[in-house]
Subunit: 245 residues, 6 copies
């Protein structure tokens, strides 16, 4: 299968890291393509940045009619519902992917994300997905997204310290890493803390492979029905969908 | 006060109608400015259209640092959280406005919106706002948004029929009209059906005036903290916020 | 418009303070009348006191058929549903008013009220209104209601300390002041702590003005239908409503 | 034990019926005293009537310091929290009693009450008690409370028809009768429809006997702590509680 | 009445203690029979042990067609739904019994159980019963079940310390003891901490007596309908129910 | 990987069908082993039957220390929590698997299961997993489990009719088939009704492969910690787990 992973931010090195993390877990027959839009923010930290990443992300998706499934590689699950309205193939967000996996392995999990400004958006997703009684707490380690790419930063130790607090104070039985940029840390942190530490990129690759393997597609009845054809103006004229779609 | 109402779609006639509806209820000292973005969809019907309306909507907001408050005039409350992250003044969505007003007048309400494709997005908002036990049902009358502007359509009779069903079948005590384009129908439908029929545009104008009158501003602690300065690329380079903001 | 604010307790000095707080935010055309019943408790602290404040409060309302809207100036929203059953005009409780406003300004708020005995009643209201996922915690500063009227008390410093704890420990983004007697403290505490501090009296005045300005009235279908005429005996014979009402 | 049942309305014949229903199920050692206040409404139908029944009801309770437990015999559980604040012994509402019993016998129940005006108050109680996922629906048979006392009315057939609808349409496994005046119908309707039909008066008698038998008392920590002594004015001066209480 | 209490574990001394606790509160006409299965675990600590206690427990129930009601004396309410499917008489779990009683005495309670491994199963029950907003926290005192039988252990002091924390930190107004083996401690701990401390065994005896006294039986419509006759193989061939049952 | 699928009932032909359904979707490297216990009921229809299937199911699991993951092939997710307590590898229930998949493809789903007696157990699982706001309704087509194996039955047409009702009346966007015995019908019903029809066996195989592929294991902190070693008596003596496990 052809699996396109869209990093919604414009930081190419992060896209590369995400692609590597995806390839590391992909099944033999899965061709991973990791892309990012040309336009938008260099990182997504809170509600404002999300907005400007989605049109470019959807453009990348429209440009890939041959993709068998898509993964949205931002823990906010940026633009997930719109993406599902656009295409017929499965679309998986890394945030939901990690949380679903967590509920299959533990009765209660905590999320460790980057900055406090992102916590309400993630709490909102927890509520939306129905996991409010399974998610003990969404925690921020106060490391900016792009600092995760900096090997000289104290990102890893801050994340590890927050996991320790989640285990002790939240009685978390599993940890969900709340940023695509943390993908490479999951295995070591899991060994260190003695509980599942779950990365969304890897989780989403597996869920996308699963749905494709089952021949399942996004429902086109109801909320994800194709957008009605209409005039799109200005910079977004190209976003109009044709009646054939 | 200067109150800017942003219709997130690009249909100027609808913006005009919304502006008139707003002026009809505005307090003497309120100057209503109704605007819409140049780029984006002609109407917003479901998750996909929402995405392309928000960047232009936020651009209109950034261009109006003198506004004392903003209203987002789409019943989906399109981009509401991002807008609150951008500005310090109050921002009100017409969907939330109408629902809050409904809970002050009745123990249970139903929403009557345009198309079935929008129902899940609105149900999601109901859940997000906490009104799931107060909202009996979100109903679609299957009238496209722009058809509301066509006096020859059967839009009014379809909406009225749906209200009758909500009163009888949902035991709704109040009705929330689920589209900015229905603003002019509220009073007549309320008289016809003998219960409050609530328009979001008018409701949002009043809530915006209220918050401004109280000197209240959007919280800048937590989820609506100002976006961290960062590189914005391509079409959205202009969306970057400066450190002074 | 004529806006009657009923302080359900019998402390006239508190009624005066509430009236002043209301007039300070009222629109030019709003005539504020602040009243309290002759009979009932001097302050309302918990479930028991509420009961004895409501009959007198409703009597004040019945005596004012000319009022365009009512505000119930106790943070417990004492007798709110009964008041809405009695009159056709809008009725707003200061507790609900402040909480609704908080959700328009922040993703999460905490309440700071007077005594621990009132906390369960307020938590119950939070649950009833649907804000359980938006209200981080209801906190008591352990200052009795009437002590708020005593300039020599340490009330202000206790409230401020509790706000600091709510900001740090609850990650509250806004604070709701949980007593009518705290109305005059909101602005200064907001400046001190750098987040919205919301007073219910001012909030309720604005919501009442808003609903009146929109021509909205309480629904008379369902739970707020007029009471059926029936015999009322003894001290409450005067509470019977006539068939014309 | 001495068990005082307070019918909060002033209809003596109904108090008599309630007393008989209670005595029919009481344990040998239980002395049932059924009383009603002198002042208040002849029946309780909706939020307004509730208010005027509670002060008299609490006066009856204050006058009986020798009671070992109290039952509030109105399905709205009128004044239940205030009553618990007043006394140290257990207080049981017939609405909560019947619903608790229902959840011990079936996975899902429906309530059949008198008038539609009472439905929102009962739905609110269902939500407050935590049974929203266990209560399929609150139904009204549109029989006024006092009509239940009229043997010539069609009350029984209307209630039976509503039970049939609850069984077929709500998939209810048990029925809760939503009015004290229906107490005498439970056994026959249960036999007729082949599922548990639960009366609140009988249920509450048993729960009160249970708590007394266990030596359990109402918690005086938190929400039901004794009211702080304070001035009560006018008609309610006698409602003030002393410091010794 | 004949009330059979099944201790689902195989520890006879604990069955004896439970029987004594039950007899201490039983009504004069109640004959208490305390039994336990021959096969299964010596104590139930978490999800795994539960499984192996239920077949034996149900065998004890099938062998007692003369019982008027059953109590399941494990705080996990082990096999409760299956037991209700098997018999027509009432079946009460001690966990649900204690929690129902707690909500009749206090606005908020905490549970103090034995080991952390049991906490998720109990939190699940809290969620299932609808008490998530009434249960402040489920706490473990880290005393194994059978250690409660050892007079030389520090079990009592650990439980007492946990109650103190629940009162201070959770603002619990009542305490539910989360193990049948704690039945004898309730009265002394209640006196010590000044709030209701509720034992499930005693609570369940009273609820069983209540339902029997009311002539109420388990609903046989829906989820507790009798099992359809079918082949049961191997060790469980005896578990097949006949069509007459 | 070695994936063991345990059909918890004793019907070997059904085990064979399940194994075939699993092999049809398994990845190249997955060896599917489908087993069932020797003892227990021939089909699982409601709470009672569940109990007697679990000990045998767990025995099958204990006997396969080499398995890399387990699937429990009954839609009730029979014994799922106990199974997770027993082993370190992932365990997936087919009910949860299908529901998780449904939420990745649609905003709302309905379940179509066999008999009404199973509906409450499934509704309970929906509530436990957090999908109450995503699951429109659990429907029964009133076809007994083993009748699904009978080609002459009208099972398929009854299921199809129920799907049509779910689409029209529940506004379901996807259908979850509520029995392992329906696995072979999913594709045809999906084509017939034009929306995703999801089978739990196939879904669970893919989730088990996913977790194994990611190297994830069941958390051993908290609720799924290994059972404490203890005496197991009688028929279940062999169920005792050793300290090394």
């Amino acid at each position: 299968m052809h699996l396109t992973i869209v990093n919604p931010n414009t930081t190419i090195t992060m896209t590369h890291t995400i692609g590597e993390a995806a390839r590391a877990v992909a099944a033999p027959g899965t061709r991973i393509e990791a892309v990012n839009p040309d336009s938008g923010p260099a990182s997504i930290e809170g509600y404002y940045d999300e907005v400007f990443s989605i049109p470019g992300m959807l453009a990348e998706m429209r440009a890939r009619p041959h993709a068998d499934a898509f993964v949205i590689a931002c823990f906010d699950d940026t633009g997930l519902d719109a993406a599902r309205s656009l295409v017929k193939v499965p679309v998986i967000g890394i945030g939901e992917a990690a949380m679903h996996m967590a509920t299959l392995l533990a009765t209660k999990f905590s999320v460790v994300t980057t900055l406090a400004v992102s916590v309400p958006a993630l709490e909102h997703n927890v509520h939306k997905y129905g996991f409010a009684h399974r998610c003990a707490r969404v925690r921020a380690c106060e490391v900016p997204v792009l600092e995760l790419e900096n090997p000289a930063s104290d990102a890893r130790s801050r994340i590890s310290a927050e996991i320790a607090r989640a285990k002790a104070d939240d009685r978390a039985e599993a940890i969900v890493l709340g940023c695509a940029g943390m993908a490479d840390l999951a295995a070591a942190l899991s060994a260190e803390h003695g509980l599942p530490v779950i990365d969304g990129v890897a989780s989403a690759v597996k869920l996308a492979e699963s749905l494709h393997g089952l021949g399942m597609k996004t429902s086109k009845v109801g909320g994800y029905a194709p957008p009605r054809p209409k005039t799109y103006s200005g910079a977004f004229a190209s976003a109009a969908v044709s009646t054939e779609d």
